[in-house]
């Protein structure tokens, strides 16, 4: 049976669908976090070099990956909204931005707290951390531009264009920062990769999945309130049970 995707692209029907999907993402996220952290803290052995401090990677690496991934997904939705004029995808992009920004912040914070015992300094101008910081600026740019335009339609389309330009620049920024970093400091030691114990990799993969489920759940919740806000004049909103209760 062919699912009529266009039926769900209308905000009103998507509102109901999103409502049903949220528990399917929220609950697995909590479960996966519990499992992942359990393995990370109790199963994974102590690292020979870094002792217990390395356990921070179970949140630092997923957060960094998520912050980058969510930015690209956001730019994708924004492009869809701009090209096909579908309001729902622009709303999805706006819903993803704060969660992406939060993951970028977490990645920076845990990176700094990990850097202190490892390199002895709170902030190290490492290529990855620096590009993470710039990514956070790109998120703030997106959110600030969207918030400062009153007309929702123009806000979506202007922020979408910025997200697309931003996503083109992310690789350029990353490589220029990497080039800049190796020029001044020499290459930093590599600690992720094959040398990790299998339990470590498992834990990190599970927490990554947990973060992904969490991001989808948050985006769905936020997109529902955006839909309500945008469609408040329409009839279907006033008939909703939440509105009448």
């Amino acid at each position: 049976m062919a699912i009529n995707w266009f039926k769900y692209s209308a905000p009103s029907t998507f509102y109901g669908l999103a409502g049903k999907m949220i528990p399917w993402f929220a609950i697995p996220s909590v479960v996966l976090f519990a499992v992942g952290l359990y393995i990370g803290f109790f199963v994974a052995p102590v690292d020979a070099v870094q002792g217990e401090a390395y356990r921070i990677i179970f949140i630092h690496v997923p957060a960094s990956i998520l912050s980058m991934f969510l930015y690209l997904v956001m730019a994708g939705y924004a492009a869809l909204g701009l090209i096909f004029n579908t309001r729902l995808s622009s709303m999805m992009a706006t819903a993803l931005a704060p969660t992406g920004a939060m993951f970028a912040f977490i990645s920076l914070w845990t990176g700094a707290l990990w850097g202190k015992p490892m390199w002895g300094a709170w902030w190290v101008w490492d290529a990855r951390l620096t590009s993470e910081l710039i990514l956070l600026f790109l998120y703030f740019g997106f959110i600030a531009l969207h918030a400062s335009i009153d007309d929702p339609r123009r806000a979506d389309r202007a922020a979408a264009l910025l997200a697309i330009v931003g996503s083109v620049n992310v690789p350029i920024i990353y490589f220029s920062v990497k080039w800049w970093n190796t020029l001044h400091q020499g290459s930093t030691i590599k600690f992720t990769g094959t040398s990790m114990h299998v339990a470590m990799q498992e834990a990190m993969f599970i927490t990554l999945l947990a973060c992904w489920f969490y991001a989808v759940a948050m985006a769905l919740i936020r997109v529902r309130s955006i839909i309500l806000e945008r469609e408040r004049n329409n009839l279907w909103v006033s008939e909703l049970k939440e509105v009448n209760s």
Partner: protein
């Protein structure tokens, strides 16, 4: 047909904007004075030791150039937006991207070129060697147009918004980081005797990339903002 050739249109738009800029000569000077002011602040803050200043000269000059061009971008479209001429330009039977390119070039003449000419003078304040000054000028000559082009996108997106100036810088500065890195990297390369070709060619690559894409993107941004 009323469609002007690219060069005639560019010529018309650049002459118009430069004519306007000359009627308001003060604006051109404020950008230059701001550049000189920001650069002169650093020795006051950091201290007069020459070897320290020489090391940070490139970075300081480049960051000041970045801020100075951000300062003047706010007026790129907003003056025309307020008095309705921008509307007429969008309704003109010409290609909007070429028209926007003309405005970018005019903006560069007003804000980029003066910085390039002033930079060596300020470089002496930081006791930079002659080859370093030459490379600084060259990197600024290639880099400041990129700042104008990327800035035009920000100016078009934040058209008519309150607090547009600060928002514009928030949007555009992250995008200018590669230029800043390669620009100041070029000067450092020459002071430490390395070859400058790699840095300048990377800035050249960014310049061409921007030259191809930013006019079209800015035209789209204008259409979005003018709705």
């Amino acid at each position: 047909m009323n469609q002007l050739s690219i060069f005639k249109l560019l010529n018309l738009v650049i002459r118009r904007d430069l004519l306007l800029a000359m009627r308001r000569r003060a604006d051109v000077l404020t950008i230059l004075v701001f550049f000189v002011l920001v650069v002169s602040l650093f020795p006051l803050g950091v201290g007069p030791e020459m070897d320290m200043l020489r090391k940070m000269a490139a970075g300081v000059l480049w960051v000041a150039a970045l801020l100075a061009s951000m300062l003047s971008l706010g007026r790129l479209f907003s003056a025309d937006y307020l008095d309705g001429t921008l509307e007429q330009m969008m309704l003109a039977p010409q290609s909007l991207s070429v028209l926007v390119l003309g405005k970018m070039i005019a903006h560069w003449f007003v804000s980029g070129l003066p910085l390039v000419l002033m930079a060596p003078v300020l470089g002496l304040q930081f006791d930079m060697s002659v080859p370093a000054l030459l490379v600084l000028m060259l990197s600024l000559l290639l880099g400041t147009p990129i700042l104008s082009m990327l800035g035009a996108i920000g100016a078009a997106l934040t058209l008519g918004l309150r607090g547009g100036g600060v928002l514009l810088s928030l949007l555009v500065l992250p995008l200018c980081i590669p230029v800043l890195i390669f620009g100041s990297g070029a000067v450092e390369a020459v002071t430490s005797g390395l070859s400058v070709v790699s840095n300048l060619s990377l800035i050249g690559a960014l310049f061409v990339l921007c030259l191809v894409f930013t006019p079209w993107v800015t035209a789209q941004a204008l259409r979005i903002s003018m709705e």
